[in-house]
């Protein structure tokens, strides 16, 4: 009778270790602010930072995902000029979205990851420019930002697919 009233059951955490995710994030932020600039397509760069955030967020619960997104966004704000906390807020929300959408299932499914990445990129762009506009960024470029977000979502999805295929090949060869 009392078995239903016992303390709630928490499943053990099975996502990536925080230091592994942190190392990937540091590498991604460094690459994003130095090398990735040279891969720009029509002034749009793929976001390896968001790729790492999505990779982590779809494997963990919402709380951890938001925390990771917060740190990632903060790093980007720290390296940008005049963005305030726009990347921090936008990346946190994107991580939350990715985590809620996937709910930790099928994190290795390429279609799921592509869908989540595209959605997270679009939401992140939208939130970023809303926050930037509130922060005083001059209006009038919404159409251009929409095009850039669409292109970036395609680039990010490409990055995720390539990363997943490499990871699968690596896993297969180490088994």
């Amino acid at each position: 009778m009392s078995s239903f009233r016992s303390k709630p059951h928490f499943a053990p955490f099975v996502g990536p270790a925080w230091y592994v995710a942190g190392a990937w994030l540091v590498a991604a932020v460094l690459a994003q602010s130095t090398i990735v600039h040279y891969l720009a397509v029509r002034n749009v760069v793929p976001s390896v930072v968001l790729a790492v955030v999505v990779w982590y967020a779809i494997r963990v619960d919402a709380r951890r995902a938001v925390l990771f997104g917060l740190v990632a966004g903060f790093c980007e704000d720290a390296l940008s000029a005049q963005t305030g906390a726009a990347w921090t807020i936008a990346t946190s929300l994107s991580a939350l979205l990715a985590s809620v959408l996937s709910r930790g299932f099928f994190a290795d499914s390429i279609p799921l990851v592509i869908g989540v990445t595209i959605l997270a990129t679009l939401v992140r762009g939208l939130v970023f420019w809303i926050v930037a506009a509130i922060g005083g960024f001059p209006p009038g470029l919404s159409s251009m930002h929409a095009h850039e977000a669409a292109l970036q979502s395609a680039l990010n999805a490409g990055v995720m697919v390539v990363a997943m295929l490499i990871a699968r090949r690596f896993d297969a060869s180490t088994r």
Binding site: S33, H37, E76, S80, W87
Partner: protein, 246 residues
């Protein structure tokens, strides 16, 4: 019979047909034998010389690799020297702080670069930044060991500008890909090719080239005209810049 034919041919000063045929056959055979022997001899020489050739080849390969590396290093040094000597006059003229570009905005959401000099080197917010050819932008954020430079092409960048030929004033604003000078008086006879320089302001001294006019937009019912510029400094290939103290 054969001997008689030969003698007859010798007396008449010609070569007998049989001798001709025999000579031709033997000539062909000699060619084959000679080529075979020559090839075999060359092969033998090569086989004997193979270790030496291999050693020489290895040495030449190593030497070639060293020369290629040295060549690349010298090219890099020459380029660095050229870049450094290009900004040296600017450093001397304005007593500026030389810096190198080390980073970019992570998401390319703004036109900015990060340089390797910060407040420890004396860089302060709002100071102007120049390249050898002209204006780069201004400092918008300073950390102890690095600073962020907002490029003149950024959408939020504003620089007081003067058309050098007629001293017509305007405001140089970035449009993400180039710079446009707004608020130039409608009666100013602007021409493509006019050089636009900085006006005296918070970040820059006057007379530093911003760019060259590539197009003039003049509306019939507007108070002002707008000039589109090609920036004097190549803002897509920045390496060494100079921070100019205010």
């Amino acid at each position: 019979m054969l001997a008689l034919l030969q003698i007859g041919a010798q007396r008449s000063g010609s070569v007998s047909p049989i001798a001709t045929v025999a000579g031709s056959i033997f000539g062909l055979a000699q060619t084959v034998v000679s080529a075979t022997v020559g090839g075999a001899r060359a092969l033998a020489v090569n086989v004997v010389a193979l270790p030496r050739l291999e050693r020489e080849n290895r040495q030449l390969g190593t030497r070639n690799r060293h020369l290629i590396e040295e060549n690349a290093r010298l090219h890099e040094l020459a380029a660095a020297y050229a870049a450094e000597s290009a900004v040296r006059p600017v450093v001397d003229l304005y007593h500026g702080i030389e810096a190198r570009v080390i980073g970019f905005p992570p998401e390319n959401e703004s036109r900015a670069v990060t340089i390797d000099k910060g407040s420890k080197a004396g860089v302060r917010r709002d100071e102007g930044v120049l390249a050898a050819d002209g204006v780069v932008g201004r400092i918008v954020s300073v950390a102890p060991f690095s600073s962020v430079v907002l490029l003149a092409t950024d959408y939020t960048s504003r620089i007081p500008a003067v058309v050098r030929r007629g001293r017509w004033w305007g405001i140089a604003r970035g449009n993400l890909t180039s710079v446009v000078v707004e608020y130039i008086a409608q009666d100013a006879p602007l021409r493509v090719g006019d050089v636009v320089v900085t006006g005296e302001g918070r970040s820059f001294h006057s007379g530093v080239p911003i760019g060259t006019v590539t197009a003039v937009e003049r509306g019939s019912a507007t108070l002002y005209q707008t000039a589109v510029l090609k920036t004097a400094a190549d803002l897509n290939a920045l390496d060494r810049v100079v921070v100019v103290p205010q």
